[in-house]
Amino acid sequence: MMLDGTEDEEKFLAAGIAGLQQNSFYMHRALDSNNLRDALKYSAQMLSELRTSKLSPHKYYELYMRAFDQLRKLEMFFEEETRRGCSIIDLYELVQHAGNILPRLYLLCTVGSVYIKSKEAPAKDVLKDLVEMCRGIQNPVRGLFLRSYLSQVSKDKLPDIGSEYEGDADTVSDAVEFVLQNFTEMNKLWVRMQHQGPSREKEKREKERSELRDLVGKNLHVLSQIEGVDLDMYKDVVLPRVLEQVVNCKDELAQFYLMDCIIQVFPDEYHLQTLDVLLGAYPQLQPSVDIKTVLSQLMERLSNYAASSAEVLPEFLQVEAFSKLSNAIGKPDMATAGVVTLYSSLLTFTLHVHPDRLDYADQVLGACVKNLSGKGKIEDKKATKQIVALLSAPLEKYNDIMTALKLSNYPHVMEFLDIPTNKVMATVIIQSIMKNATRISTSDKVEALFELIKGLIKDSDATPNDELDEDDFKEEQNSVARLIQMLYNEDPEEMFKIIETVRKHILTGGPKRLPFTVPPLMFSSLKLVRQLQGQGQEENPFGDDSATSPKKIFQLLNQTIETLSGVLAPELALQLCLQCAEAANDCELEPVAYEFFTQAYILYEEEISDSRAQVTAIHLIIGTLQRMHVFGVENRDTLTHKATGYSAKLLKKPDQCRAVYACSHLFWVDDHDNMKDGERVLLCLKRALRIANAAQQMANAARGSTGSVMLFIEILNKYLYFFEKGNPQVTVAAIQGLIELIMNEMQSDTATPDPSADAFLATTMRYIQFQKQKGGTVGEKYEPIKV
């Protein structure tokens, strides 16, 4: 059915165009031969095509535009006629002989335009006549187009201030009167349209009405362009008259559209000065009108205006725009998304107009909370999006979360967000902090901040671990980690409080979050430790236990790390223990460092069972232990003994070998003479050699060929190292023996070629050669070694 409808419509339009073209062809011939009679006849016939009722507004507009173009030529002809001496008054009479009323009125308007231009009668009289005559057309579509034609041709001939058609007295009001009258009539036609025709076509009619809306709204645009419409006239005449029409027509479509038009076509200053009147109209509109959209458009416009220049702000203050707007919003009960959109607009407005009045912004949020209260978590996507916009507005305005934290209602609004959106908002907040490098420097603020972003900090009770994308989760937690690093105060007391606050919050995060959040907290704390140490660590003279000391921090860290081993992250816990031990070492806190080491060893023994993880852990342990200088002989012996023990017990021979020769360094610390035990170094190296041998034999047995000599070459390098360091136990003979061993291995028939071993050996040999040639003490030392 619909398809047929449009096809038919195309046909009707084509027929209309054909008729119009035919008649305009003859009209042109008449114009060319200055035949007024024929010109009128054919133009009237041409205009008859506009009498159709079969076209939708869109198609009718097409036909109308074609007629419109032709009428411009006719108008020029009329002007020529008057120049040739034809009386315009006669012409005005003459066109009224056209048989049908619609063509007659189009012609009348066309001549009327020339009439006004000729100034043979006051513009206001001609206009009044025309606007009255147009009442003759009561069919909505035809009437609306005719009147918009009138509006179009008269637009540049209104008796406006400074216009050449300005008469003697009070002429602007004539112009305004004319446009208002035309507007009123058009609006009536437009509103009435919905009641015409069968009710089953209501939907189609509403669509058509919607298409026609600009013809009505255009009048408001014309009014706004009249220069003589100053604020007073707008306030006293234009706005009240327009609003009267809007309110009284009781039509949803018209009210919504025309309110929007009023807001858009008239200047901001006018709106500010008439806010009472404008806002007063809203409650009088039909209940079904989408007030929130219109209101937020008004607020958006006003905020843009406020943002345009600081000079306009006094205007806003003078009319108390904020309280007027917030009162206007308070009332309507509407869908949640609508409520939030409104408050979001109002907040944007407030932030622009009253950037210094945080209390206003808080009021807006408070009012929003009040309005939303009892609605629980909001899950409507549109509404949550609006809440995010609402909450982001202060961040964008001030570029500073600290300001937002001052808004007491801010967290309350956030409460309304569902969990995913709450996280989004929390991320927005963190990003704002990052971007602006905001300093958050007191524990109170940190407390407030973490309360705000708790969606990221812990699982909510409501949803037990919903399906979350792993990558998203990581990104989220990484941003929390970055945030933790940014919290800083140079006062150690306050910084310690911050750390305690953060700790309290992140410990609620559960096993998945802790591995992300504990490390940054730890490093923040260690930074504080170093700072205290840098201050000369005046050991509090009064023995005041409450003062922040490295000891206290370490205690806190110890407890924190324990939580990690509880959540199956023993490797991370071990790493952190070692970090702490080293820090304690730098603070000369032997018992603390020993405690951390013990904890690391327990973790190693009890929790780390994977052989690869063990290898990594043991090397970390050896490396850290080697750097420790705080331990007394006894403690050090205990720890070293354990470490070598672990090394020799690794699962694979090569791993054992490498860990054992690494242990040799534990007995030889460069800068500490009391930590140079050449004998035990050699013991380690010999033991490593034995293990390498065993590994070799095992490989031979398994594969029937010589295994890699890599381990031997590595051990050779260790020998060279200690030889050079002056360890008396490492002798030329031992080195020489080792070199020969390696050479034999490599030249044996069964040896599998190993290019990397070859290269390693070659480099090692080159190094010896190089040291020989260096001369001096080093050269002398190397001299006896034969290559």
Partner: protein, 207 residues
């Protein structure tokens, strides 16, 4: 005699909301400018008599709504345009990026017979704002775009100060004149002397 059609030149101004289409037209036709922003509804024209190479023409300048929601009846008025003026605000990147959209929209809707050579003119308006400090679209960039679209003439204007407006419209007039009018050659099949007598009368009201 010179056809009336050639004495009337139709120009359409297009561009985003708030770039200053109405202001440019008002400055050119009435030499007036207002700082206040007033949205345009629908389409609307002003005329101006211009002299070009000793001949008089009437420029019919169509100002349009930049906001789509105020263009409810469509764009039938594009028909028969002789030149299309694309306006953007040199201080708003988006308005420049949208030029392409406006140009294509015009070519589709107006469907001129020779779209390749249809005359456009681009105006970069509001060069006066903040002494040019807030501009984000460089003259070079704008000219490059114009060059890529078949050497569209480009002007930097200020409707507020009247800068370059006259020159721009002179160019618009010149280019509109170059456009070959699309006369829909119409020949009546029969010479219908009586004129009336068409069978298809609309039913219903006799107005």
């Amino acid at each position: 005699m010179a056809s009336r059609r050639r004495m009337l030149l139709k120009v359409i101004i297009l561009g985003d909301s708030g770039v200053g289409k109405t202001s440019l037209m008002n400055q050119y036709v009435n030499r007036k400018f207002s700082n206040q922003y007033k949205a345009t509804i629908g389409a609307d024209f002003l005329t101006k008599e211009v002299q070009y190479e000793d001949r008089l023409f009437t420029l019919q300048i169509w100002d349009t709504a930049g906001q789509e929601r105020f263009q409810s009846l469509g764009v039938a008025f594009y028909r028969g345009a002789d030149c299309c003026v694309l306006v953007y605000d040199v201080n708003v990147m988006k308005s420049f990026e949208n030029l392409n959209h406006w140009r294509e929209e015009f070519l589709i809707q107006a469907s001129p017979s020779d779209p390749e050579n249809f005359p456009f003119v681009v105006l970069g308006n509001k060069v006066d704002v903040d002494g040019g400090n807030s501009r984000v679209v460089s003259e070079k960039k704008a000219k490059a775009w114009c060059a890529s679209k078949g050497n569209i003439p480009y002007f930097e204007t200020s409707a507020k100060e009247g800068f370059n407006v006259e020159a721009a419209f002179e160019c618009i007039t010149k280019n509109a004149l170059k456009n070959e009018p699309e006369e829909e050659l119409y020949m009546p099949e029969t010479i219908d002397v009586g004129g009336g007598g068409r069978q298809q009368r609309s039913t219903g009201c006799e107005c």
